[in-house]
Structure formats: C-alpha cells, structure tokens
Amino acid sequence: MNEFLTKIANILEENAVKETDELKAFAQWDSLAVLSVIAMLDANCGVNLRAADFEQVTTVGDLWNLVQSRKCS
C-alpha cells in the first residue's frame, strides 16, 4: 500500500497522498495522469485498467481497492 501511495504521489507530483484524497482534487489529475497510472499498474501490479474504469473511482483508496479486486479475479 505504501509503495502504491508513493507511486501515485509521484505521478501527481505531490509529496504524499492519502487514501481519502480525491483524485479529481489534484491539479495534475488529467488524461495524461490517468495514462501514467494505467501504465504504472500494468508494470507493478499486472493489472490492466481502462480509462472507463476510473469512472467508478473517487479516492486514492477506491483505486487501491479496484486494483486489489482485479488482481484476485
């Protein structure tokens, strides 16, 4: 989880992010950030998300939960 938070923070160019943070609240959250997150999750977690998957995601914690659920299935 900590590594995940650090990687998200790097993409968003923030010092740190918390589970409860809303993705859309970050200035750097745009289509390029979405693509960077998709690439990061593919490389680090073996999970392939699509941009449409992000519609059900509000917070950083939601994203973590989505990734965990995809890993199991």
Binding site: D30, S31, V34, I38, D42, N48, A51
Partner: protein
Amino acid sequence: MNFTFRRKRISGILTIVPANERSFIEEMKNFNFPESRSLKLKEVMGYDKHRLVEPGVCVSDLAVFGLEHLFKNGLLHRDEIDALILVTQSPDHFMPPTSNVIQGRLGLKHDMFCMDIGQGCAGFVIGLMQAFLLLEQESIQKVVLINADVLSRKTSPKDRNSYPLVGDAASITVVERDAEDLVIHANLKMDGARNEALMIPAGGFRMPSTPATAVLEDVGDNNLRAKDHLRMDGSAVFNFVQVEVPPMIESLLAFAGVSMDAVDYFLCHQPNRFMLQKLADKMKVPYAKMPMNVVEHFGNSSGVTIPMAITFNLATRLKNGHLQVCLSGFGVGLAWSSMLMRLGKLSFCEMIDYP
C-alpha cells in the same frame, strides 16, 4: 494465425516526408489547456516536431514524387514493376483505387497488378505479406509496396489527444525474390469488435459529411473535434498494445524457434515514445534495440512508421550488412501483426523531403 514465406526479400526502402515541419511548442497555443500541462505532455509522450502536408496534398502526390525519385536515380526502372500495392487509410478518392491513379500518373505498363489495401498502423507488415503472396506467381518479379497517409487533413488542430502526434508520409518498399532460401515467419490477429477505438466517424457512406458533421464539439478535457475528424480512444489503444503485442511477439519467436537475444532490432509501429517505452519494459527489450524516436521528429504516420524507423536509424547498417529484425505493427482495425526476417544489403535506404 501464423505464416511462413520463403525466398523473399526487401531490396530497397525509401521514405518521403513533407518538407513542412511544425512544432508542438507553436501548436500548443491552439489547445485549451494550461501551458505547463502541455509541456508535461510533450516531455512524457515525446512530442516535439512533426511533418504535415500543405493543404490539398494527397497520397498519390507523395507516392508519385517518391517513385520519380527512384526512376531518376536509376534505383528502380519504370518497366520492371509487376505489382503495385498501396496501403492507405486516406485514398485520393473512394473510386477509383489510388494505386491505379499512381500507375496512370506515372505511365506504367498495363501488365500490372494494382491493389489498394485499407489498413493503417499494421499496414506495413500486412502489405509485405501481400507482396510475398504475389511473388509466388512467375509473372511477378518485382512488387512495389507503398504505405502512405495524410491523416493530418482529418485531425482537429484543437484535439491534443491526436494532433500533436499525427504525421503525414509515404514509403516505397521494393520486394522481390531472394536467391537464398531463408524462411520469414509472421503472425497476425484482428479484432473488429474494437473497430471504434480508432476511427473517422463521418465522410463515408455510413455517415456522409454534412455541415453538421463538420461542427467542432467539446469531447471532454477541453478537446474540440468534429465527426469528420480522426478519433482515437488513447487509453483503450494503450491498453490494447500492452495486452496484445508482447504475447504476439513471444509467440512469433517461439514459432520461429529464435530467442529474444538473437533479434538485433525490434522495429515497431511508432505511436509515441511513452507507449514504446512501456512496451519495451514489458517485453524486457533494451531501449537500444527498439527505436522510438520517429514521433518526436516526424509524427506518427500510420503504416509508414516502421519504414521510417528503418530509414532514419539504420540506413548505413542496412546498406552494408544484414540484421535480424522483428517488425511489429498494431492499431486501427484493430489489427496487430509481426514478422521476423533478415533485412539488409539494401540497394537503397533513404529519406527524402516532399517537395
């Protein structure tokens, strides 16, 4: 599906790029987007310069210019072309075929097989397969494969999903029989269920162009685009490439019984630097073996990007010697295809400006 071809070779490659060069820095003023974010996009995706045709320039103009260059320099003779294959998504007209237009403009002989193939990013590999098949006929000694697209003419300058990366270009590849009996391995998959990931919705018979299809619409993220324009679902395409391409190439190498290390270069279609880096990472291929510098210099010109990666990066080596190369094209269709072959001793391997 897998394919093998024997006794076939590429004997020369020429790419033709429009002289008109545009820069991302100039064009980002058209985007409704903070400048700092545009610069970030440039850095991550590797956008910088790209080559675009002047208004009115068509695929046959680039092709005729390139072939005239080869005739003039004695690199190809007018009467030795037995087949002319044109792979394009931007034909001069719906009818007649643009390959016939090119044949006519050059005054080529009538004993000739002209054929248009409507493929894009996978179109270099698909065109080579078709060229090899034609060479099975005794009457066909030399095939000219032309890949050409002028898709900037169908791309909205206010759409930063597509405009910064689009490029126009043509390539001419001469394919003939090889005296040496080497095997060329290839494979191909298609998925038409995902055909909407890359498309120009209007302008064909399904949705003819009207004043309404020319209206710019806000399609999210402050990007403006009309139905007459090229539309790319960037994240779906990215996902497609990461999921489908590495297993395709692994399967090709297994089919050929060749190890990853035995391949000198992985010459992939060039969507952007970001996607190619992620592809190389996933396949554990060193960046030095996978050229990814085409988009930043010329833009993504659909089926022309593999010949461009070759003429831009490997011209001297391929004129003097041989390399074991794995070609791979993927995109519109969706279609994805790869080919393992020995490439080299080319009689020409160069790039010229149009005009």
